[in-house]
Symmetry: D2
Subunit: 135 residues, 4 copies
């Protein structure tokens, strides 16, 4: 198992929330999450923080997939629609990649294919390889 | 127990993550979260999504504390420092309140008093009272 | 000349900056701006505020193109590359449209086709028709 | 005249818009702008881009006041109230300062003291001194 794979699989927060990482590599990543009771907010719909967490796991996998440590410095998220059941899916696109900074755009969809949120995040890229965190 | 209290206590996502809501009312709120293993990312520091979730719980409690349903439409978060243990605290300030929209600023601190993130969020305020979601 | 056309052409800030609105309608818009000396910042590259202004003019034209007044409530912009000459182009895509809220994604390109910025903005949609502002 | 002063005074975009830089230094800055016709949008109120530009000039002065070049990488702005006349004022507070990154919070007020917008911006700090751009 390579370093990136070990690194991505070590995301304990994503596991705690039930994020299912489907694929990642070359600055891209895709994950889904089956909505469960522990994702709901006070109004009975999926919490903004849970939608963020799914997108954030994808953001982390995509930005670290180059093999060097990427740390989130800024994220903006817009929410479009409340959902309360089904499966959510998020896919990262690498909009920009420089030696020090990279930006990702991550739409989140419900299982009818309606976009429910849009996540835009920027990372600072360190020189450390991701392998050192998982040995 | 009044409607707002019942509503805030019904936040299942915040409970799942271990958010401890300390106080709320009049557009303000404060919460803390003891860092646990399930908050950690692949690099062994607190996940951006976990920091977001703490601030988001405070955002929800503050914006719904007026008694009418507030739905998040946009959030921006900046991260300043990685932390891996201790207790995080977040406090919401209501920057602007209109009949339809309100904006909150929520700094997050570690237990040395260093600001580790800044969350800025806007809600759309519906006419529904929060009570109807918890009866 | 219809109301939307009159409304878009009444954008005095866009004119002052030299924004050339190329097309708009049905939630979309496209504009370009030839970089001039008055767009430059202290370091001699195009000011973040000038790039924002180009995208913002497109955001306004796209969001008001439905004929009802749209007011910006939140924008996030990421910058990828400094440029100092040539022509910038920005195109709006309507990511979400609800009766009260709409969100647009507006990438900005230099004349080599490199994306230099990404603008994500949300408007609040009022009931007023845009025509009343230009009669 | 020192390098920082020369650098800040070289902001041609700020001059073109009529930004009056009142003070800057040690990570802080303050500026005002008298609303003129060329700041107005299609609806006759101050353009979101003009409010952004005022805050952005303050952001640039504050972040470059340490003497090393700071480049904007991400900004989020929320708008609270439409204004159409008077003077706007913006003040930057340095929320976080690291060797490579710094974040500023910049509220914008009208001349009745009402906060009309909140700007949150992050810069990447290069090693170059600002002096080399103004010699």
């Amino acid at each position: 198992m390579d370093d990136v794979k070990r690194f991505v699989e070590n995301d304990r927060f994503a596991k705690h929330l039930g994020v299912d990482m489907l694929e990642y590599g070359n600055g891209r990543a895709k994950a889904s999450m089956v909505i469960q009771d522990h994702h709901l907010n006070s109004a009975g719909t999926v919490h903004g923080g849970a939608i963020f967490a799914l997108a954030d796991a994808v953001f982390s996998a995509a930005s670290n997939s180059h093999g060097t440590l990427a740390m989130a410095i800024n994220v903006s998220i817009s929410y479009f629609k409340a959902v309360s059941s089904g499966t959510l899916t998020a896919t990262a696109e690498e909009v920009s990649l420089n030696p020090k900074l990279a930006t990702y755009l991550i739409p989140v969809f419900d299982d009818e294919g309606t976009q429910i949120a849009l996540f835009q995040g920027t990372v600072y890229r360190k020189k450390d390889g991701v392998g050192q965190f998982v040995k």
